[in-house]
């Protein structure tokens, strides 16, 4: 018996030391969180994974599940033809809407990926310092970019800053102010980490200018006119880098106007082109007819260059034609996320708000000039602040239509949503400015219901 007791003790000791026996090789078909941030290549692949996913058929992809489509429908620029999108058009989005759920989940999946990158890089990481700063900067920027849209579409949202599901499953709602303050923190961090050199060829990964451009927009939305003017100015000042090309060249890949573009799915052009350009009776979205036919001033070249009609026996429809390629394996267009024209319009608005009307008119005329319109400087140099702001808002509508829901966000931030939409949308309610949080968010988080 004694022997057995000794053996038992020996065996149990063996067992303790044999914990190492259970250390197994990582799966070769996928990577483990820890190993991703041990070298530059896989860490870079992780940040590229976010862009690749954004370019997919989701919130940022420009297709029929994207912010471009649904926010366009919620405002007064697009009309929907699919039943899935109808709730967005009538501003009666239900908690169980499938498109809403996938859009919401898609954004937070990318937030998760960005958080994972930030956690991975802050732990002991084998990534070389310059690449580390670059990726860290991009992750902060992407997180800010997503939260900007989340809070503008949904209002108060859970602010998720970690990947630990035990924490994130209980996160309470954060107010818009709190979300914005996080956005600014992220963008300021990114500003310190990124440079004006794009990390890869082309402009498909954000650089310092992209951070500044988003900062300008955020300050504009926060009514911080001084900073909005300052940051838009920083981007505009880089005239060697960014300029306003002819209308039909704006959305080409690497156009001189682009600050940040998304590289489309391999061997394809943009989803915007695929969705908008009609070759048959529409099934997704078209432009609101009234906007397409009477929303522009008479000399405006944009309806000629950026809008097209399609007719068959069943009718005539108008569709955005900013992207000219519906489908081709020769890739000539990338999906535009941030471009210079918006910066001019931001600075015009910020200057007008600060009563720098001449400066504002100069910026606005940059956009009008390219569109072939008469300049305010010549047409109405004595325009007052109110009318100038109206003109800017109109210009934003005609310049930025069918891009990233600019119109929907503009109507809301200028408190004009109800005034503009109530007459044309049946059953409009003031609360419709925000989409509801999906049922699977509210019901599953005890701190939300």
């Amino acid at each position: 018996m004694k022997n057995i007791t000794y053996l038992l003790i020996l065996l149990s000791c063996l067992l303790c030391s044999c914990k190492q026996f259970l250390d197994i090789d990582p799966p070769k078909s996928s990577l483990v969180q820890e190993s991703v941030y041990q070298n530059d290549e896989t860490a870079t692949a992780a940040i590229l994974g976010i862009y690749s996913s954004m370019a997919g058929n989701g919130y940022a992809g420009g297709g029929n599940n994207s912010i471009t489509a649904i926010a366009g429908l919620s405002s007064d620029e697009l009309t929907g033809f699919s039943t899935a999108l109808q709730e967005f058009y009538t501003n009666q989005v239900s908690l169980t809407n499938g498109t809403l759920k996938s859009l919401y989940l898609g954004t937070y999946q990318n937030v998760f990926a960005a958080n994972a990158i930030l956690e991975g890089l802050s732990a002991k990481s084998g990534v070389t310092p310059p690449v580390k700063s670059q990726i860290e900067g991009e992750a902060h920027f992407v997180r800010a970019f997503i939260y900007f849209y989340l809070t503008n579409l949904f209002g108060n949202i859970p602010l998720q800053l970690t990947t630990d599901y035990r924490v994130t499953r209980l996160t309470p709602l954060s107010s818009t102010d709190k979300v914005y303050s996080q956005i600014l923190t992220d963008l300021k961090t990114a500003e310190g980490l990124l440079t004006d050199v794009y990390p890869s060829t082309e402009k498909v990964r954000p650089n310092l200018s992209a951070v500044q451009a988003l900062l300008a927009r955020v300050y504009l939305y926060r009514k911080d006119w001084i900073n909005a003017e300052k940051y838009a100015g920083m981007v505009i000042a880089k005239s060697g880098k960014y300029s306003l090309p002819a209308l039909n060249d704006v959305f080409l890949k690497n156009s001189s106007e682009a600050i940040w573009q998304l590289f489309p799915t391999a061997n394809a052009n943009t989803r915007e082109g695929g969705m908008f350009i009609l070759t048959n009776t529409p099934i997704n979205v078209t432009l609101e007819q009234s906007f397409a036919t009477s929303g522009f001033e008479s000399n405006d070249k944009r309806p000629i260059n950026w809008i097209k009609s399609f007719s068959n026996t069943k009718g005539t429809w108008y569709h955005p034609f900013k992207y000219k390629v519906r489908s081709s394996t020769t890739v000539s267009e990338y999906s535009m996320v941030l471009r210079l024209a918006e910066q001019y319009l931001i600075r015009a608005e910020a200057r007008a708000k600060q009563n720098d009307l001449d400066g504002s008119i100069a910026d606005l005329d940059k956009i009008r000039g390219r569109a072939g319109l008469l300049l305010i400087r010549d047409l109405n140099p004595g325009i007052n602040q109110t009318n100038l702001l109206k003109a800017i808002l109109k210009e934003r509508k005609t310049e930025l239509f069918s891009e990233w829901g600019h119109r929907w966000l503009d109507l809301k931030r200028t408190d004009q949503a109800s005034t503009v939409l109530a007459p044309i949308k049946m059953g409009w309610q003031d609360t419709d400015v925000f989409y509801p949080l999906p049922a699977d968010e509210i019901n599953r988080n005890p701190n939300l219901n």
Binding site: I4, L8, L11, L14, L15, C18, K19, F21, L22, I24, D25, P26, P27, K28, S29, S30, L31, V32, Q33, V36, T42, T44, A45, A46, L48, G49, I50, Y51, S52, S53, A55, G56, K101, Y104, L105, Y108, Q109, F112, A113, A116, I157, P158, Q160, T163, Y165, T168, R169, S200, E202, V204, F263, A266, P438, D440, E441, I442, N443, R444, N445, L448
Partner: protein, 1004 residues
């Protein structure tokens, strides 16, 4: 033939010292049961280390000095007998040997890490021996267990050779369908994979479970299969024991004269069941009535009824596609023998099974088996070495043709007058015979090697270590030639595809153990401690090649215009454990068995890798008590046993605890990765635990003429690994976590055996086994929040199917009337408030064995009372047909009880081709329970008539034994099932086959 010569055989190393006045003694060994002489009996005299073997006529010769000796006679299948003799002999020395195991209670049961006698076992272990397996014309060892073992539900998922089986011991215990509930298979001490080992393509034709790994093992090489069910038997397997353990032991050599055994079986098979489908007249009636109901006329695309196809032609697709006869050949040659210290068995088998499909397809298995046992002279060291090598080559079509038995009965002939595939002017989009060109070949090699070394350190203490290795390599090739695609699709060379897959599955295991056995004053103490180290690695690679210039080049990967990496996975699994057993028996009446195991598994995060499992088992042989022995003499054996313990289930995917990054679409041509959101990393999940309780009664009456075992069990599986629903903002829908959901399996198991006749000429024994299982979901926190809300109801079995309230066919509209329970105008998951049970109410088998002189008849009737999926589970609205999307639209005759005009009552709604009506039918069919009905059946699983040729006659031609066996499998089925086959329950998979076989078995 030297071994046949009557030479005195002396234990090689023990030549006796020449002594003076030795006497030559001759003796004879005979069998006590038959009176026949026995050759090959080993007769040992321990005192002088001498041993001889009896030769023909049972004779043996000893050379002994004067004095007293104890002869020990040992013979396979017989009890060892010690005889005292005194030299010189006064009378003829005749030793009679009694056949072993005449007493049921002395049968030795293999419990994996130890063996235990039937009498002393405290757990629930059932045994199936080679004698049972050999009589059945089967290709997979799992078939041998069907309907024979209570508590074990084995369902064949397809009749295709090498196809899958579902095996469940005492019911399903996991609510998450991703968590496996397969038993643990151990072949010669080495774990054998239960999951499919091939690529998913084979899953198409080999059933949902894919190729069954056990089909690689030749059933005739198996000596015994032991099934471990309760906590007492399975707790020593710890985390892997929750779903029961199946131990397979291959044949070993026996000491004795070398013998050669040859066997050959030839069998033919056809599908065991058919379904009555509409003939041309009925089919056209259905289609025309459907169009009339819809107010439509046939379109130019309605080839079946618009006159394009012959309106009078009838093709029985069932007969053409699956009505063939499959021929099977099985040949085996074995060589075995040995002396006192060494024995061996070498064997080879060739097996070829054809298919019932047209064309030349077959499953081939070639296997070699060897086993060697060596014992040292002093009996302290014992080494046993087993290797099995199996080569399987399964050559099949990619798609099960059974899917196409429902083609329109007037569809054109598959071949035209020139013998070419007939696409009938492009009106045929799917010609089933074209599928014969889409071949799938799987070659697999399986090597199982195991070595066991045991050494008696002290008289009571044995050190033993076993080490094993199992390798399964599969190589799969599947092709889609251009000729296979209808010209109506205008195929291009890009459509020619071929898939090349390779899988390597390695397992090694090492298990050192110490065994201690001590006789105490009042009882016996057995202690066992040991450790287990195991590793399994699976590497799977699959390439898809396309764009070939010719169908002939499909097998040449180099000729492919494009290559895509279809799948590449690698996973590793390691496992470590310490186990112990302590068994104490008191006066051979009271037994206590304690087992424990501490397990570590790499499938869990570092804090959750280890867990403890254990069980307590007790038995009381009350028939040994004096008061019973005297008063109830008819009771020769009575035992009550009980066990309780905890086992675990770790059948979850590897690496589940890690946050993994999967490759995602390239960005700017650069590969990218993204965190897996479907599997958010959770380092905190652990085993599912299964608490098992069992009570059982075992009786032997009238000298075991009647034996009975009744068991009641209750298994409660908690700590369920299920998807814990997460709010979307976590970036994932669920996280895999242990939840306090609880699934309970309870049941009664009965096993009886009666020896009705036990005479010299006539023998008849009959056995019945019965299982009454009951499954119940006891708890599931927050079920409403989870996606499982539409699958389960607390308090009901987990195999229920939630359905709408289907209120029959509305006699006015002719459509199914489905209740909108919540009245929201929509039929959605919340309206499925009723449920139907899918599963077994009870099942079992009735077994009979009758012998008269040299004839023996065995048969097994299997019965199952159950609800299952019927014909409607795969067929759409009766009346619908589409050349492209739904050419397989023929229906079973059951649909003829349909509504035709207002006021009519019917069970089937109006025939229609309309989508709106179709959705009503779909709702009724898929969610209204129309697809679920009684699937009970009685099936003659096995019948075998064997004849043993007279040994007297055989001995003249130097043959020891010869048997002729005529056997059948699945010969008839009695059922009211509405569908193709109540076992497979599918219209798309080949039913099990019925087989007739003739075999000859000769031993030289």
């Amino acid at each position: 033939m030297a071994m046949l010569c009557p030479i005195l055989k002396v234990g090689a190393q023990y030549a006796t010292k020449p002594q003076l006045k030795n006497q030559i003694i001759t003796g004879k060994v005979i069998s006590a049961s038959s009176g026949e002489t026995l050759s090959g009996v080993v007769i040992k005299i321990n005192s002088i280390n001498q041993s001889v073997t009896s030769i023909e006529g049972g004779l043996f010769i000893l050379n002994l000095p004067k004095g007293k000796f104890i002869l020990s006679a040992q013979y396979l299948g017989h009890k060892t007998r010690d005889v005292e003799i005194e030299v010189p002999l006064r009378e003829a020395l005749i030793i009679t040997l009694n056949p072993e195991n005449r007493n049921l209670q002395e049968v030795q049961i293999n419990a994996g890490y130890y063996t235990v006698s039937e009498r002393a076992r405290t757990g629930n272990i059932q045994k199936i021996t080679a004698a049972t397996i050999e009589k059945q014309p089967i290709s997979n060892p799992l078939q041998a267990m069907q309907n024979r073992v209570p508590g074990v539900q084995i369902t064949q998922t397809t009749g295709v050779p090498g196809g899958g089986f579902n095996v469940q011991i005492r019911g399903r215990s996991s609510v998450n369908s991703q968590v496996g509930n397969d038993p643990l298979y151990i072949v010669d001490g080495v774990t054998f994979p239960s999951a499919k080992v091939s690529d998913s393509y084979f899953g198409n034709i080999l059933g949902t479970t894919g190729a069954s790994p056990l089909s690689m093992i030749n059933p005739n090489d198996i000596e015994s299969i032991e099934i471990l069910k309760d906590a007492d038997a399975t707790a020593i397997y710890g985390s892997r024991g929750a779903n029961g353990v199946i131990l397979i032991k291959t044949k070993h050599g026996q000491s004795g004269k070398p013998q050669i055994n040859a066997s050959y079986t030839q069998s033919i098979s056809k599908v065991a069941s058919h379904i009555k489908l509409l003939n041309t007249e009925q089919y056209l009636e259905m289609r025309n009535e459907a169009l009339k109901n819809d107010g439509k006329t046939p379109t130019s695309l309605d080839y079946d009824i618009n006159g394009t196809w012959d309106q009078h032609k009838y093709m029985d697709w069932q007969k053409l596609l699956i009505g063939g006869t499959a021929a099977t050949r099985n040949a085996a040659l074995n060589f075995s023998g040995g002396s006192d210290n060494i024995n061996y068995r070498l064997g080879g088998t060739y097996f070829k099974e054809g298919t019932v499909y047209p064309g030349d397809f077959s499953f081939n298995r070639f296997s070699l088996q060897s086993s060697l046992n060596f014992g040292s002279e002093n009996k302290r060291l014992n080494v046993s070495f087993t290797t099995n090598y199996n080569h399987n080559s399964n050559n099949q079509i990619r798609t099960d043709l059974t899917t196409y038995i429902t083609l329109a009965p007037n569809a054109p002939d598959p071949y035209d007058q020139y013998g070419k595939l007939n696409w009938a002017q492009n009106t045929v989009y799917r010609n089933p015979m074209s599928l014969l060109l889409a071949k799938n070949t799987i070659n697999s090699d399986n090597l199982i090697g195991n070595i066991i070394v045991s050494y008696k350190v002290l008289p009571d203490l044995v050190f033993k270590t076993s080490a094993g290795y199992n390798l399964i390599k599969t190589n799969e090739f599947s092709k889609l030639p251009l000729a296979y695609i209808s010209p109506a699709y205008s195929p291009t060379p890009a459509d020619r595809t071929a898939t090349f897959s390779n899988t390597d599955n390695h397992t090694w295991i090492a298990e050192p153990q110490l065994n201690y056995n001590k006789k105490l004053v009042y009882g016996n103490l057995v202690a066992l401690i040991g450790m287990s180290f195991q590793e399994n690695a699976v590497d799977l690679r699959s390439l898809q090649a396309s764009n070939f210039t010719s169908d002939e080049l499909l097998e040449n990967i180099g000729a492919a215009g494009s290559l895509v990496n279809k799948l590449a996975t690698y996973s590793q699994y390691r496992y470590i454990a310490a186990f112990a057993r302590l068994n104490y028996s008191l006066r051979d009446k009271y037994y206590l068995n304690l087992t424990a195991r501490r397990d570590g598994s790499s499938r869990f995060g570092s804090d959750k890798q280890f867990a403890n499992f254990g069980a307590i088992g007790t038995a009381w042989i009350f028939s040994e008590e004096k008061f019973l022995k005297e008063k109830m003499s008819f009771l020769n054996f009575g035992k009550i046993r009980a066990s309780y313990g905890v086992t675990g289930n770790d059948q979850i995917p590897d690496y589940g605890y890690l946050q993994l990054y999967n490759t995602s679409a390239t960005y700017q041509g650069i590969p990218t990765i993204i965190p897996s959101s479907s599997n958010i990393g959770n380092p905190n999940f652990a085993w599912e635990t299964n608490r098992k309780l069992e009570f059982a009664l075992q009786l032997g009456l009238f000298d075991d003429r009647l034996s009975l075992e009744a068991s009641w069990y209750r298994n409660r599986s908690g700590n369920q690994l299920i998807g814990d629903p997460l709010p979307l903002s976590t970036g994932s829908l669920t996280v895999r976590a242990n939840r306090p959901a609880l699934v309970q399996n309870t049941g009664w198991e009965f096993l009886t055996n009666v020896k009705i006749l036990n005479g010299h000429d006539w023998r008849w024994s009959s056995g019945i086994n019965l299982t009454i299982p009951k499954n119940k979901l006891i708890a599931y926190p927050d079920i409403e929040q989870s996606s499982d809300a539409k699958n389960f109801i607390i308090g009901q079995p987990i195999s229920i199917y939630k359905v709408y309230n289907l209120r029959g066919v509305n006699s006015q509209t002719g459509l199914y009337d489905i209740e909108d329970h919540d009245g929201n105008g929509l039929l959605d998951d919340r309206d499925r408030y009723l449920h139907k049970f899918v599963g077994q109410y009870f099942y079992g088998g009735i077994q009979n064995s009758v012998s008269y002189k040299n004839f023996n008849l065995d048969f097994l009737l299997g019965f199952t009372k159950q609800n299952g999926y019927n014909y409607a589970s795969s067929q759409s609205t009766p009346g619908l047909w589409s050349a492209i999307d739904y050419p397989t639209a023929n229906q079973s005759i059951y649909v003829f009880d349909r509504w035709r005009k207002p006021g009519e009552n019917a069970t089937i709604q109006r025939f229609s081709t309309d989508d709106a009506f179709d959705s009503t039918y779909e709702n009724a069919r898929a969610y209204g329970g129309l697809n679920i009905s009684d699937a009970s059946y009685i099936r003659l699983k096995t019948i075998a008539l064997s004849y043993s040729l007279s040994e007297r006659w055989l001995s003249k031609v130097n043959i020891k034994r010869a048997n002729l066996i005529l056997s059948g499998q699945n010969l008839f089925t009695i059922t009211n099932y509405k569908g193709l086959d109540p076992e497979t329950q599918s219209m798309n998979t080949l039913p099990p086959l019925k087989t007739w076989a003739l075999g000859l078995n000769v031993t030289f």
